[in-house]
Homo-oligomer: 422 residues x 2
């Protein structure tokens, strides 16, 4: 059972809005073990919608088409579906009545164009609206099926969960294709995609002959490189076991090659990893940021409950602020000494138990005799003050972003190290 | 000239990442008057990539395929293209050398799989990398063309701007589709899309009969709402005149209805607008950020030369930091008084001439008796200390982001006001 998603709307092609519907539907289908091999975007044009839907029906078993069901002149999905089904559009009196009633209940007069939403391809089953005016449609096309839903995410998600998912799963069962698909994402920081791939090459090769387990890599910029393990099978328990086994093997391969570079799983970001450790160790954090300009703090405040362990940050962009506020000794401010002094200063000024600092050269020109991309991270924990030197690639924005996650990773590892050596 | 975008990656189908590449490319193509009628997503599967590309080549004149060019086993776009071109993959020695050199320059050993990135379909032209390892490709397919770029946005956007756009426009000209298309984007903050549309409704109606000038609205979240005026014609001078005339009329309509809400044009962000005014007035800025957690500072440091006017920021996430470091009187910290005290404190502590502060409730629960979305911006310029109260919609991340741009807009308008009343 292969489901294709077709999102209709010229605004998608023009890049004026992001297609969150396909992403949401893709995630739901995967959760329920329904394969989805293709997505399409097409504009508000009759011939092209027909072409996109015919293409989808040719290569997939079911199609979910989102958008173009509203009341305005550019809502033409209904007519395109009628052409594909080779049937006329007929007025569905119950829908017309529901639309009239909805306007009446809000004491609003109804523009006549709203009744176009009651036009339904002959032979289609209606999915009633509970949140808007345009109903959804379930349209048989030979042995295949075409589901039409509004493009408004709030209405689309409701119809999918209320009417489409069960219909799809029933068809999947009827075709004898029950399957469960589960994934696990391992998030890493500190290695390259190619080196990771090499580290797990043996697993990759072993899985060539196993259609039920796959490994994929996903370079996610400043979120690190993700390694996704996916398992499929007929029942939940078996799939969970397959996934757990493969995850353990991949973890072993990665940590064997690179050490502790897996900082989280699935949706856990680096800031979550840091937050968890600070909380567990009862520490509070004070930051001193130079080239990152507040980026580290602004990532950390996204973690729920950050106020329990985050005191704040001194963004010391100007050297004088480093001297006057943080107590850094006058002299070069891109140096190990300055980084350490900043970490101590942040801890003191902000009244925190842990101080983390970043100073460096974002570029494009050198500073204090240091090349662009040279960054020092300072860390004050307990009686220890340490630093780490980084050499980062990229333009100013990237050097900043990499500095932020690298500094947090340094903190994560240092907090772990402390527990291990305690 | 119709261009289709094909984004490759199983993670797109599974909904694990959003396809920002198609959106970005769609926007760029539209800006340059290049039609794009379809987008597709396809997973990391050889047969299906081939099918998606053949489908695209059948219904469009050019195809941009993003992703699947990396060094790992699931990067198979190159092989799919070779099959479509019906040619072998050949090792491109210059690319291999560049990849080796890149690893050497970072003093890292190169995993052998990186050299798969030097495999190129015979007859393809290479787009050299400047930001990563996988080169791009320009592949002739009969009269049509297939451009392949990496899926990493940072690398993709660079290759598009450096090599693909000009090639596309040259093909468009060769096909006799020469037209000069120029756009001007007016960036606004402080009105809604529907209200803006209403304000320029007369222009919109007047242009219905003019195929050469169009107005479009683009809600861009925390970048505000953009109003794009586009003019087309056969020569540069004529188009420039059309554009200038329409821009003046639209500006008049907007400022007539809402006052000074246009803060920049084209690529000028709010932080550029603020930077320009601070520089012109010889002021330096110190920030005090609470719920924004460093977001304002981290936006400002993106402006080149920020060190000339930005002193830094005190991110006072914890109330104690507001009291101890910024000198706010003990009491509720989400209040007009606290915002003004924070602005004064930031100015004093950071040694700046202008102090800007933000304090408020990001949510989801209330604080100091204030509802989520309640935000106070404080400003200290010269002898004046003022504040502004905002009520912002959305979840925590959105309240933060809106707070940041609203605070900068308040500073922008206040600095302008000062000049006007001087």
């Amino acid at each position: 059972m292969r489901v294709e998603i077709v999102a209709v709307g010229t605004e998608l092609l023009l890049g004026q809005i992001a297609d969150t519907n396909s992403q949401w539907l893709g995630e739901r289908l995967a959760e329920h073990g329904v394969a989805s091999h293709f997505h399409q975007h097409v504009g508000d044009n009759h011939e092209r919608i027909v072409l996109a839907l015919r293409t989808a029906l040719a290569r997939s078993d079911a199609v979910i088409v989102c958008g173009g069901l509203g009341p305005t002149q550019d809502d033409i999905t209904r007519a395109a579906i009628a052409e594909i089904m080779n049937v006329p559009l007929v007025r569905h009196e119950e829908i017309a009545e529901a639309i009239r009633a909805m306007f009446a209940s809000r004491a609003r007069s109804m523009p006549d164009n709203n009744l176009t939403q009651a036009e339904v391809p002959e032979g289609a089953t209606v999915i009633p609206q509970t949140r808007g005016t345009a109903p959804g449609l379930i349209c048989p096309v030979g042995e295949k099926v075409l589901y039409a839903v509004p493009g408004v995410p709030y209405e689309m998600t409701d119809m999918f969960q209320r009417a489409i998912l069960d219909d799809l799963l029933a068809r999947q069962r009827a075709a004898g294709l029950t399957a469960v698909i589960r994934s696990r994402v391992l998030r890493t920081w500190g290695s390259s995609e190619s080196a990771l791939a090499e580290a797990v090459a043996d697993r990759f090769t072993a899985l060539q002959s196993d259609p039920n387990v796959t490994i994929a890599f996903l370079a996610s910029g400043i979120e690190g490189i993700k390694v996704r393990v996916t398992a499929r099978g007929d029942d939940e328990e078996h799939v969970a076991a397959l996934l757990a086994r493969e995850e353990a093997l991949v973890r072993q391969a990665i940590t064997g090659a690179f050490g502790d570079i897996i900082f989280g799983i699935d949706e856990e970001t680096m800031e979550h990893a840091v937050a968890e450790r600070l909380r567990a160790q009862g520490e509070t954090l004070g930051l001193a940021e130079s080239l990152t300009g507040g980026l580290i703090a602004s990532r950390l405040v996204n973690v729920a409950g950050a106020s329990h362990w985050l005191r704040g940050s001194v963004v010391a962009y100007d050297a004088e602020v480093k001297f006057d506020v943080l107590g850094v000794a006058r002299g070069p401010v891109v140096s190990p000494e300055a980084a350490e002094a900043m970490a101590l200063g942040a801890r003191r000024v902000l009244g925190a138990s842990v101080g983390l600092s970043v100073t460096g050269v974002a570029g494009p020109t050198e500073q204090d005799g240091q090349a662009p991309g040279t960054v020092f991270v300072g860390l004050a924990v307990g009686d220890a003050v340490t630093h780490r030197r980084l050499q980062l690639p990229g333009d100013r924005a990237r050097v900043r972003a990499y500095s932020a996650i690298s500094a947090l990773d340094f903190l994560r590892r240092s907090l772990d190290e402390r527990v291990r050596s305690a």
